[in-house]
């Protein structure tokens, strides 16, 4: 009898633990955000609704959260300055959990229940691609702040993005390595399970070969933790630059081992490095990465953004916040230029837009990809220092 009670207890405990984790990732699920600033004047009519989809819970929640915070800051500023077409704008956010099905559900909810005018989203390439075809069918004005995969805007006149693409970013890193760092030999170490990492690695590899030699082109999987072997192998060829296109968690692990092995090499990374100074300032010291904007950029718009963001959220923005912020400004300007909330009119206005954003001066090419400069950032004393602004066409 005692045994049976114990077994029952254990089963309960197990179920409970699973239920708990389930809960914790659900509790914040769909939340309709209140408009940032209510003027109390109903005369201006209903707010214009802009949908936002991004991972707000789960492993990647930090990326979705900071993008959303940037977007909400922009909405607040726009409303304070009188709104769009005399109406306030309202950001309605849904959680994608980084999951493709969830993203499609969120899109359908935004379209059918909330009747959004335009979409700023989704945040990741994978989730953005999953809603691409539906949005294309609807002709929904869609502007992804951060999806860098090449296919996102391809053959879809209504879809735009605020960030640069993976190939563009990878190639820029290669040009910078060769021209500014004087590198003749480079090694590439990338995550074969991640299209983002792979896309960047391929672009870097291809571009760098125009300038010098790529000594190692090595892949790893997301479960790999030991890089000493592969780094020892790379060290043998004595490259000048090591290209590490991945997110902070992995890059930190690799750089720690670079440090431990005492490799004499300059590492370069991509926008996935943004925020690396938080946990890995010491091992990232002196290394470079390509990014959407630099916090040390002196220009007024960047500095205003930094101080307003800090005031509202009490923390420093990431590059993703800047993109979310720019995306909402672009969308608002497009709606203003269109003069109505008609989908096709907004899409046409977006295609013709030119705007000075935090992440640079932005115009769209025929695919809906932005043409803009890339900031190269060096980590010095745990801070971002703008090393150069590069723009290649």
């Amino acid at each position: 009898m005692k045994k049976r009670i114990l077994a029952l207890l254990l089963v309960l405990l197990l179920v409970f633990s699973v239920a708990l984790t389930g809960c914790s990732s659900n509790e914040e699920a769909p939340e309709g955000e209140e408009p940032a600033e209510e003027n109390g004047e109903e005369a201006s009519g209903d707010p214009i609704k802009i949908g936002y989809i991004g991972p707000l819970t789960g492993d990647y929640s930090m990326y979705g959260e900071t993008t959303k915070e940037g977007a909400e800051l922009a909405a607040e500023e726009i409303n304070a300055a009188g709104g769009v077409l005399g109406r306030d704008i309202e950001i309605i956010s849904y959680d994608s959990k980084g999951d493709k099905t969830e993203a499609v559900n969120a899109y359908n909810r935004l379209r059918d229940r909330d009747e959004m005018t335009a979409l700023v989203g989704a945040t990741f390439s994978g989730t953005t691609l999953s809603i691409k075809e539906i949005a294309k069918g609807d002709g929904m004005p869609m502007l992804s702040p951060t999806a860098t995969h090449l296919d996102v805007t391809l053959d879809a006149p209504n879809i735009f993005r605020a960030c640069f693409t993976d190939p563009y970013q990878g190639a820029t890193a290669a040009v910078f390595a060769a021209d500014n760092l004087g590198a003749e030999k480079a090694a590439v170490l990338y995550n074969i399970e991640d299209p983002y990492s792979e896309g960047l690695a391929e672009a870097f590899n291809e571009k760098f070969q125009e300038y010098g030699e790529v000594t190692n082109y090595e892949g790893y999987t997301k479960n790999d933790a030991d890089f000493k072997t592969v780094l020892t192998k790379i060290a043998e060829n004595d490259p000048d630059v090591l290209y590490l296109p991945d997110y902070i968690a992995k890059v930190g692990v690799i750089l720690s081992q670079v440090e431990e092995l005492g490799l004499d090499v300059v590492a370069m990374g991509a926008d996935g490095w943004d925020g690396i100074e938080g946990d890995y300032a010491d091992v990232a010291e002196g290394h470079y990465f390509t990014n959407h904007f630099a916090k040390t950029d002196e220009s007024e718009i960047v500095q205003n953004f930094l101080s307003n963001y800090n005031e509202k959220w009490g923390s420093d923005p990431t590059a993703l916040s800047a993109l979310g912020y720019d995306a909402v400004y672009m969308m608002a300007k497009a709606i203003e230029n269109a003069g109505s909330t008609d989908s096709q009119a907004i899409v046409d206005a977006l295609a013709a837009i030119e705007i000075d954003g935090v992440t640079g001066n932005i115009v769209f090419d025929e695919n809906g990809d932005p043409l803009k400069s890339i900031s190269i950032i060096q980590v010095i004393d745990g801070k971002h220092v703008l090393a150069d602004k590069v723009s290649i066409q």
Binding site: K3, L6, A7, L10, L13, L14, S17, V18, L20, T21, S24, G58, D59, M62, I192, E218, G219, Y220, T221, N223, D224, A225, D226, K228, T229, V230, T232, K233, E236, A249, G252, V253, S256, Q257, E259, E260, L261, G262, D279, Y280
Partner: protein
């Protein structure tokens, strides 16, 4: 040549961590014929224990290590008492399923308590390269190898020369006979779990220091590879676990160094399949007919 030696040392350090974890599998299997799939999670909890100790108390490396090993030993005893002891007389498959359940439970528990995002382990050992006769070796690598070998020797002496050690060997030979000889079987099993878990925690701490991170799913991969190592060496045999661990570490390093990183996991798990087909009792195992 230096490259080869350097890679050999890399393999040794990876292998010694696998060996430590494999010892936990093998000790437990030897004594109650249970493959404790929750062992990887004990390793993970060991790493978290160390992480918390460092963050809250700021103890030096060795104190942290011992603190975490003691806590993990207590955790191991608790798990055994709560989850496995009631099933001692049940069919072996029930205990095995319980072990899998326990593994999932601990993973989710860690996720609820600590969150899913990786925590950065503070630098307990200053990371820098040391130059020995033209060969660059990291401090962490050296410490890992030394500590692992030290604790393996301690374990060996303990099992061969002490009363509880002898009791462990006796119980694994024949449980019924050792009861007749006056050995407290329950206590011996508890001691086994405590030792296995402490070694797992040691592996976990070394792993998290070497690779700088602690996260709830960190035990899965090393746990599985250590299991392969234990099977390869001959499950239930202590020297087998050590041998298996070092072989798996070497194989992984060699395939990463001379083939490619993508293939190393496939090769390691390919070994498991090969062993099970060719010699299921492992390298050091004797072919015994199962007593039914």
């Amino acid at each position: 040549m230096t490259l080869l030696i350097q890679q050999f040392i890399n393999g040794l350090s990876v292998g010694s961590i696998y060996a430590l974890i494999a010892l936990g599998y093998t000790l437990v299997y030897g004594i109650i014929k249970l493959i404790n799939f929750a062992h990887g999670e004990i390793m993970m909890m060991g790493a978290y224990f160390a992480f918390i100790t460092v963050i809250t108390m700021g103890l030096p490396f060795l104190a942290t290590l011992i603190f975490s090993m003691v806590l993990a030993a207590l955790l191991g005893i608790t798990i055994e008492t709560v989850a496995y002891k009631p099933l001692r007389k049940a069919p072996r498959i029930s205990a095995l399923i319980t072990a899998i359940g326990m593994s999932l439970f601990l993973q989710n528990l860690a996720q609820v308590i600590f969150g899913a995002d990786p925590k950065v382990m503070p630098d307990l050992i200053p990371k820098r390269p040391i130059n020995i006769a033209g060969i660059q070796i990291g401090t962490v690598t050296i410490v890992t190898i030394i500590l692992s070998v030290f604790f393996m020797i301690v374990l060996d002496l303990f099992i061969k020369n002490t009363k509880p050690g002898k009791a462990m060997r006796a119980v694994s030979e024949d449980k019924e006979a050792s009861v007749i000889m006056g050995i407290n079987v329950n206590r011996t099993i508890s001691i086994t779990f405590a030792i296995g878990s402490a070694l797992g925690a040691l592996g976990g701490v070394l792993y998290s220091v070497a690779y700088t991170q602690v996260y709830p799913t960190m035990g899965i991969m090393p746990g599985l590879k250590a299991f392969v190592a234990a099977v390869l060496g001959g499950i239930g045999l202590i020297p087998g676990a050590m041998l298996g661990g070092f072989i798996i570490g070497m194989v992984e390093t060699v395939s990463k160094a001379y083939l490619s990183s993508q293939w190393s996991d496939a090769i390691v798990f390919g070994i498991l399949i090969l062993v099970l087909i060719v010699k299921p009792t492992g390298i050091l195992g004797k072919n015994e007919r199962e007593k039914v």
